[in-house]
């Protein structure tokens, strides 16, 4: 951009005066833009970049709680490389994120399509759908804690009452069941966010497109495939990016329900990082686990943006 002075008078004064540098900083548009951005930049640096940078730095040290530690290079990462529990947590995190995100998207989209129809009490129903999202995570986790209790589960009690089973279901005491249980709880909690966001997107699709396609003889599937889905793709990209990020970094739900057990089968990278850094006192190692999450998160973001956001057919081209 050209260096354009705000006013000829001030510019002339700037050229004439001895304090020209300071005046230029005050009047030059480029500098002014910088000044205006500084508060936001300062905020981001202080609360986002600095903690992130500090976390990455800690991962290269042997810091313990209350002690700064010394630089030890990649030693924390080398230990993690041979650590079965760490790799199990990576597997758990990927499984948890993938299964929960896919199911949350499928259920959320279905729910959004249903809610987009004209029906009675539409506003109330839409508000009710949001309840799982509104309830504090810890509160819903405690509710699931009782629902999945091996001895006192209401599901087990009902199934036994119906005569369908005659034994207790080991919800959180078996690896597979525990994983399925925490994924279910996450889906229950996450679906409303996706459903309501996609519903907002659905309402921006012009009705005339559907009318034109219907006149052309399009089926319901074709309406969805060639009108709804393409026009919804940008918002899907955004909502799924957030969903994947939230799911990947989930902590509260797991911590309340299982603390990573049984047998570390539900330990996510976030919970393992907390356990080793804060409970175990090894800040450096905990930071290394947290830092190891970054590539996965970046990959998820890249996939969402480059895989969904930039498809040519959104602007009328082909997919190639």
């Amino acid at each position: 951009m050209a260096d354009v002075p705000l006013s000829p008078t001030r510019s002339a004064a700037a050229k004439a005066g001895g304090a020209s540098a300071w005046t230029r900083l005050q009047t030059n548009r480029n500098w002014l833009g910088l000044w205006f951005m500084l508060p936001a930049a300062g905020f981001l640096i202080l609360f986002l970049a600095y903690p992130l940078g500090l976390g990455v730095w800690l991962s290269f040290t042997d810091s313990r709680i209350g002690r700064p530690g010394e630089f030890i290079g990649f030693e924390n990462y080398a230990w993690l490389w041979g650590d079965d529990v760490f790799w199990l947590s990576v597997f758990n995190t990927l499984l948890y994120t993938t299964v929960a995100s896919v199911l949350k998207f499928a259920i959320g989209l279905y729910l959004a399509l249903l809610l987009n129809r004209h029906m009675r009490f539409k506003a109330i129903i839409r508000a009710v759908v949001l309840i799982p999202f509104i309830v504090p995570t810890v509160l819903s986790a405690v509710a699931f804690w009782w629902i999945f209790d091996t001895q006192f589960s209401i599901i087990t009690w009902m199934l036994q009452g119906l005569g369908l089973i005659d034994h207790q279901i080991n919800w959180l005491g078996d690896s597979t069941m525990a994983r399925a249980s925490v994924i279910f709880a996450n889906i229950w909690r996450g679906v409303p966010f996706i459903a309501i966001t996609l519903l907002a997107g659905l309402q921006t699709v012009p009705g005339s497109l559907y009318e034109a396609a219907t006149i052309d003889g399009a089926t319901r599937w074709q309406l969805f495939r060639f009108i709804t889905y393409p026009l919804l793709t940008p918002i899907i990209a955004v909502v799924m990016t957030f969903s994947v990020l939230f799911t990947f970094t989930d902590f509260q739900l797991i911590w309340v329900l299982t603390r990573g057990g049984p047998f570390n089968a539900t330990h996510l990278m976030a919970t393992l990082s907390y356990q080793r850094a804060i409970l175990g006192g090894n800040l450096g190692e905990g930071a290394a686990i947290a830092t190891a999450m970054i590539p996965f998160l970046l990959a998820a973001i890249m996939f969402s943006w480059f895989g969904l956001q930039r498809r040519k057919w959104q602007s009328g081209g082909s997919d190639d």
Binding site: I65, G66, R67, V85, W171, G173, S175, G261, F263
Partner: protein, 442 residues
């Protein structure tokens, strides 16, 4: 006035606490004049974060003690409570950022996680030790870093076998077996009669860590040796894993997900008839009985406590919870902190407080053997020598920050859980634990 048994109990408890507070206050004022080692700073106020009480009367007695301290010294003390598992992260964060409560009252070797951030309380510990017949050996291990006392190990929670006398009688046992083989037979017999046992195998820092360490140590296994070299991968550990799996196989399903509170509620709901815990299950049954619950009254009558069986090593290998109290170096009022610690441990305060705890807490110094609580109920007796029978976090090794990390990381518990579930062979479980321990003790 409508006087019910419940309201009578409440008013009696309140009157007791009030009477205790009144009598304490007079003594406390004299103590502040004559015996206080450190005069609190001008305008001092204190904040103490403690684990949330399990027995109401314990907290009542403790708060009476706190009120007496304030009356005698003029130092207000704010007492905050957190769940047992939440004290450590809060203390860790406070130690790291240098701000937070003046005192933390946590579990096991917590002060050793950040020993540099704990104030030196050596003179207070020496005074208490000399005056009351000496600290228990385990208390010295927990309280000292090198030659310096970094915390006062104020009390222990005896982790005992809790059982229903009628159930073990029905299973064919007249008393709790004193050896591990007999104990396994009892567990099998309980399973056969449909009154199974069960102990926490989830990430339960109290009950979970207590039984798995007993199991490991009773068979001669250890995480590290006296020089902190990792020795977990051993035939003794393998024997412990086989034994633990034998127990697990006859326990009620679901113990792998149990945390510290699951066994309490399962026991009170008559889902399990033997577990490990403090005496708080008994106290809960007694409380319910006092409120008119006849079923709980019968259960309280039937509950009893026992020491852990002795394994092949031939000596007790119990792991009771130590509750250390530490002052933080960032406090503005270190003298007030030390004065409070000293006050708390004086027998005139300590005795009535432990009496209020009804054997949920056991004394840490010799003179505590004479406290009234130990003659109040014969079922309390096994809790009495907790400080003298317990081994310490770290086992043969040091009780420093590495032992604290291994405990917080559930290295032993995860190894036993993996072997019990059959997800790993004993050899694989040991190999993973060995690697974990090497990482921590590097």
């Amino acid at each position: 006035m409508n006087l019910t048994r419940r309201s009578l109990l409440r008013s009696t408890a309140a009157t007791g606490a009030l009477a205790m507070a009144t009598s304490l206050t007079g003594w406390a004022k004299a103590w502040a004049q004559t015996s206080m080692l450190h005069a609190p700073e001008e305008g001092a106020t204190l904040q103490l974060l403690r684990w949330r009480r399990f027995i109401q009367s314990e907290e009542d007695s403790f708060m009476a003690l706190v009120a007496a301290f304030t009356a005698a010294t003029g130092v207000p003390v704010e007492v905050l409570s957190e769940g047992m598992d939440d004290v450590q992260p809060k203390a860790s964060v406070a130690a790291n950022v240098g701000s937070g409560p003046d005192m933390f009252w946590g579990l096991y070797s917590l002060p050793h996680l950040f020993s540099d951030r704990c104030i030196d309380v050596t003179d207070v510990a020496d005074y208490i030790g000399n005056k009351y017949g000496g600290w228990a050996p385990s208390a010295e291990v927990y309280g000292k870093s090198g030659d310096q006392w970094i915390a006062l190990p104020v009390a222990y929670n005896a982790n005992l076998i809790n059982y229903r006398q009628s159930a073990i009688a029905e299973a064919g046992f007249s008393e709790m077996p004193g050896d591990t083989e007999g104990f396994l037979e009892l567990n099998r017999a309980l399973n056969r009669i449909g009154k199974p046992a069960g102990m926490a195998l989830g990430f339960a820092s109290g009950d979970g860590n207590a039984w798995v360490h007993w199991c490991l140590w009773s068979h001669g296994g250890n995480l590290v040796d006296a020089d902190d070299n990792v020795i977990i991968n051993s035939p003794e550990t393998e024997a412990a894993l086989v034994y633990a799996k034998n127990l697990y196989d006859v326990w009620i399903p679901g113990t792998a997900s149990w945390n510290d509170s699951f066994n309490n509620k399962a026991f009170l709901a008559e889902e399990v008839f033997l577990t490990n815990n403090g005496v708080s299950i008994y106290a809960a049954a007694q409380n319910a009985a006092a409120e008119g619950d006849e079923k709980m009254a019968a259960m309280a009558e039937d509950i009893n406590h026992a020491y852990w069986p002795v394994g092949p090593v031939g000596k007790p290998t119990e792991f009771h919870i130590c509750y250390p109290l530490m002052g933080m170096t960032y406090t503005k009022y270190p003298n007030a902190v030390k004065a409070f610690m000293q006050f708390m441990m004086e027998a005139e305060n300590y005795g009535p407080w432990l009496n209020g705890a009804r054997a949920y807490l056991s004394h840490a110094y010799a003179a505590g053997e004479d406290f009234a609580v130990w003659t109040a109920d014969p079922k309390f007796a096994p809790a009495k020598p907790a400080a003298y029978r317990t081994l310490t976090a770290g086992g043969l090794g040091s009780v420093g920050e590495k032992a604290a990390s291994a405990l917080a990381d559930f290295v032993v518990l995860s190894m036993i859980a993996n072997a019990c579930s059959g997800r790993s062979t004993p050899q694989d479980a040991m190999r993973v634990a060995e690697r974990q321990a090497q990482r921590i003790y590097r």
